[in-house]
């Protein structure tokens, strides 16, 4: 197997930089920006705040336990409009005890919500909510009560969540954060609620704002309301809305790193959501005129690999693959060579093109998590990125994009092994 001339395995970082393992000179290191703080899941499985411009290595949680190598997490801008993300307002039918339990950030700052006796609407509320299409989320943990409801005040829309079994009703979603904590979320597509609520529910099929007979309790931490179609990393707030700025990661390599006539770009990646946006990793000349790209795009669950040489007439190869789910990890490689282009995904050659040219000498000079010109930023998880300055054989490409074992595949795609 050939040795890559550039390889980034998420493992080394400092403010404004993501280190590449190869080349050893450091010319393959990435420039990184994010003008605000942000949170991640660290190697202990806890939510941790990272300083301005510090890249985030996000550790995968499988059934709530860290399992496997971290990914470089790159996210778009998002704003949590709930001005006090960890302050809950109880109605008269519940009792709130703050700083009562260890939260997913590892400190004693989760609140316990206990229902009074009797049949009534039992909920906690928060001020602040987004409008239009947005997503509401909260971390919740069962104590002696296990079914809750999330909704928006004044508009239709709710979902119910079982904090014991991990089941949820239509429209909801749950992520297991370990130690009994789940991040429960719900998307709203229209309307302008004045607030969000978390209420006691007696069943997964309970109607919106139903009364409850429960006298038990559960724990809450960290609410978020953001104008995204999916839940992004937790943005703590304390008195005002907080924006996490978008991240950029680019500028790896130089003209000596890349071969203009042939090569292979490999990425082990997953999308944050199937949100029908362009998200691109590109080898380029710093423009969109000469590029070798791997990208998610506006077609559902599609992975595209393209080679573009505008001076030679435009796209030289467009290779498309439809994944079952782009939010699970895939090992993707594009091979480029005159009249010999191919796309490999998870051990299989899925598309080829036998007509097209590549680039003149000293054209390709940068590898970026965007389209080459700062647009179509790649927002997703990257477990590894490699570049080979020669066209690998089919056997090598099969090896490069294959899972090395059953457990490697299961962990890589974040499946539970039962």
């Amino acid at each position: 197997m050939a040795t890559p001339s550039l390889a980034m395995i998420p493992s080394g970082y400092k403010a404004s930089k993501v280190y590449s393992v190869l080349p050893e000179s450091g010319v393959g290191d990435f420039d990184f920006t994010r003008a605000t703080t942000a949170t991640r899941v660290n190697s202990s499985g806890l939510i941790e705040e990272m300083a301005i411009n510090v890249p985030r290595l996000e550790y995968p949680l499988i059934d709530g336990v860290v399992n496997g190598c971290p990914s470089l997490l790159l996210e778009p801008q998002a704003t949590n409009v709930i001005i006090n993300s960890n302050v809950f307002t109880p109605n008269s039918n519940v009792i709130l005890n703050t700083d009562n339990s260890i939260s997913p950030d590892g400190t004693l700052n989760a609140s316990k919500v206990t229902a009074n006796s009797g049949t009534s609407l039992k909920l906690v509320d928060t001020n602040g909510a987004s409008s239009g299409t947005y997503r509401f989320s909260v971390f919740a943990k069962k104590n002696t009560h296990n079914i809750i409801q999330l909704g928006g005040g004044g508009i239709v829309g709710h979902a119910n969540f079982n904090l014991e079994t991990g089941e949820y009703s239509s429209g909801g979603f749950m992520e297991n954060y370990g130690n009994g904590w789940y991040r429960c979320s719900l998307q709203f597509s229209a309307g302008t609620p004045t607030s969000h609520y978390v209420s006691f529910s007696d069943s997964l099929s309970a109607n919106r704002l139903s009364t409850s007979v429960s006298t038990g309790s559960f724990f809450l931490f960290g609410m978020q309301s953001e104008t995204t179609s999916y839940t992004t990393s937790y943005i703590p707030t304390n008195g005002s809305a907080v924006t996490r700025n978008a991240e950029t990661c680019n500028g790896a390599g130089d003209a000596d790193t890349f071969n203009d006539s042939e090569g292979v770009l490999m990425a082990e990646i997953s999308a944050l959501a199937n949100d029908l946006t362009n998200r691109t990793i590109a080898l380029s000349d710093g423009t969109t005129s000469n590029t070798v790209r791997i990208q998610y795009l506006t077609v559902s669950n599609s992975i595209w690999a393209t080679v573009t040489n505008i001076g030679a007439g435009g796209n030289q190869a467009i290779l498309q693959y439809t994944s079952s789910d782009i939010t699970t990890n895939s090992k993707v490689s594009i091979k480029y060579k005159e009249n010999d282009f191919s796309l490999w995904v998870d051990g299989f050659e899925v598309a080829t093109d036998t007509s097209g040219v590549t680039f003149s000498a000293n054209t390709l000079n940068t590898l970026q998590f965007d389209r080459g010109n700062g647009n179509e930023n790649f927002y997703g998880n990257t477990k590894q990125l490699q570049y080979y300055n020669s066209a690998l054989t089919d056997s090598e490409l099969e090896t490069l994009t294959s899972w090395t074992s059953f457990s490697d595949m299961a962990n890589g795609q974040q499946y539970s092994i039962i």
Binding site: M1, T3, P4, A7, I9, P10, S11, G12, Y13, K14, K17, Y19, V21, L22, E24, G26, S43, L57, C69, P70, Q384, Q386, T399, L400, T404
Partner: protein, 57 residues
């Protein structure tokens, strides 16, 4: 001699499995060089085992 202070210690040649295994450096040369470069530059290293286990390493 009792209470004698040794200014240097020699831990022999640790083996991966066997004597001195707790001192054995499991990282290969590329991993070690990468780790040294990052630390010398003031960076932070995490999950170095993932580098050591990379297909190309």
């Amino acid at each position: 001699m009792a209470n004698e202070i040794y200014y240097t210690s020699w831990w022999g040649s640790p083996e991966k499995i066997g004597w001195g295994s707790i001192y054995f450096d499991f990282n290969n040369p590329l991993t070690r060089e990468y780790e040294a470069r990052v630390i010398a530059d003031g960076g932070t290293i995490e999950a170095i085992g993932c580098v050591n286990n990379a297909d190309f390493n």
